[in-house]
């Protein structure tokens, strides 16, 4: 095969995979509506107080240098409509005023107050041992049937926990991920992340339908207590302990779902540098997890989900490789566009991409940020920023892996999510 034919065959294979991935997600995601009804079957006929009586829930909030957002997170839990709730805040050796603000808040708003069925526990660890270790400390103290992990820069909607409890009346569900939205939408970078999250979480619908959800983020992850007895606790040496843990659950063949109606708001990166650090951590965490569980790929084991093993994971990996071709392909397309003065494909590209995002907004999650809706037609241009951020993250994670280095937690100028 000569070089020209090789390139032709390779590009046909790669574009074929990309088309397949898109069609697969776009056509299965709408079926989530049926899937959801099926999952909720066991909670029908149960009143809220009945569900509260039979399901105790523990929310663990690990905090490391979260003086800005931690009180908003605790307040959102205290105001939450679910009553049979245990709130566990773990200060993971913060060097800022996290300990001070939590203690002040406790004395003023919690101590000797009627929490209407809720309880509050504060674990103050003097030494920073990482998020995984902090969550594990919380799990040891937790008495709930369900454990929820919540980031300390996150805020739950008032009925989010009750919604979660309804889905977990279905005994087949082992773990779930809530619907996380970006709260800060006052900057261009904020709006980009709002739209990106909406699109990304819309595609979680497909993963839920085919039982392939392998990323349960720490911002809003829900686990049945028995899961920890079966699969162990969070890995304390891993910086993306949430990806590792949720992939581990899939390696045990557990059922993981996405709960679109349970909504949380989190703080997105407020600068390009913050975004680069965040995405580098995500990609490195995923790379480490893929390397740790190579048997999950193309597996014939009974406990491994077929779609996850043969479609979702391989396509995720190939998707990243395809992304690396973007800087090569874009100038070629530009060259031919300007040489032939034919812009029709560019218009088509923008038109199609915009239509897909509109679909996600209209048929996907409720309570979308309508300010970002206006920016959707521009998202195609704005997303170029994201593409280069992702490329940086992929290359950076490979470099770190080859050098045998671990990633450090990203920090950025926290503003909190209290305005949502």
């Amino acid at each position: 095969m000569d070089t020209r034919n090789f390139i032709l065959v390779l590009s046909l294979i790669l574009s074929g995979i990309a088309i397949f991935r898109y069609l697969f997600y776009l056509l299965i995601s709408p079926l989530y509506d049926f899937h959801k009804e099926k999952l909720l079957k066991d909670s029908r006929g149960l009143s809220k107080s009945q569900i509260e009586k039979r399901t105790k829930i523990s929310v663990i909030v690990p905090a490391w240098n979260e003086e800005v957002g931690i009180i908003t997170s605790i307040e959102s839990l205290l105001k939450n409509s679910y009553k049979n709730l245990e709130i566990i805040v773990v200060n993971d050796g913060s060097t800022d005023n996290t300990n001070k603000v939590v203690k002040q808040f406790y004395n003023k708003r919690i101590k000797d107050k009627n929490l209407r069925g809720k309880t509050f526990t504060y674990i103050n660890k003097r030494k920073n041992k990482g998020k995984g270790a902090a969550i594990n400390s919380g799990i040891k103290r937790a008495k709930g049937d369900l454990i929820i992990t919540m980031d300390a820069d996150t805020k739950f909607e008032k009925d989010a926990i009750f919604t979660v409890a309804k889905y977990f009346q279905n005994k087949n569900v082992d773990a779930a991920v809530g619907n996380v939205k970006v709260a800060n939408s006052r900057t261009i970078l904020g709006i980009i992340q709002v739209i990106e999250y909406t699109l990304g979480f819309y595609f979680k619908r497909t993963n839920s339908v085919i039982n392939c959800e392998y990323i349960i983020g720490g911002a809003f992850g829900i686990f049945r207590k028995s899961v920890f007895e079966k699969c162990g606790n969070f890995d304390e040496n891993n910086r993306t302990e949430d990806i590792e843990f949720s992939t581990r659950l899939k390696s045990f063949g557990l059922k993981t779902i996405y709960i679109e109606d349970a909504i949380a708001y989190t703080e997105g990166a407020d600068s390009i540098l913050g975004l680069l650090k965040q995405r580098l951590r995500w990609k490195k965490g995923r790379l480490d997890t893929f390397i740790k569980y190579p048997d999950m790929f193309l597996s014939c084991k009974k406990e491994h989900n077929f779609f996850l093993s043969w479609i979702v994971l391989p396509i995720a990996l190939i998707g990243d490789l395809e992304l690396l071709l973007f800087p090569i392909l874009t100038p070629i397309v530009f060259y031919y566009t300007f040489t032939l003065s034919d812009f029709s494909y560019w218009f088509a590209w923008i038109f199609f991409f915009t239509s897909v995002i509109f679909l996600c907004y209209i048929f996907g999650s409720k309570k979308n940020n309508w300010r970002s809706f206006v920016a959707i037609p521009l998202f195609y241009l704005l997303s170029v920023i994201l593409v280069f951020v992702e490329i940086y993250a992929i290359l950076g994670s490979i470099k770190l892996y080859l050098e045998g280095e671990n990633i450090i937690w990203q920090t950025w100028n926290r503003k909190g999510v209290s305005n949502v």
């Binding site: 595609f203 990323i215 088509a348 679909l359």
Partner: protein
């Protein structure tokens, strides 16, 4: 945290390659095929919504 790998490129190839190939084979205008493709997606979503609201599972 979610898996969004390759979404822009995926959209690009879906836009350019799929209707372009179909257009070359059938001779139908590329933009008509693209618009039809989007229309099918919308109709599919609407039908699913209607069926979900009318049929009790």
């Amino acid at each position: 945290m979610y898996d969004n790998s390759g979404s822009v490129l995926g959209a690009a190839t879906a836009t350019i390659v799929l209707p372009a190939t179909a257009s070359a084979i059938t001779g139908i205008n590329y933009f008509i095929l693209l618009a039809s493709f989007i229309a099918v997606l919308i109709v599919f979503n609407v039908v699913v919504r209607i069926v979900k609201n009318t049929v009790k599972l």
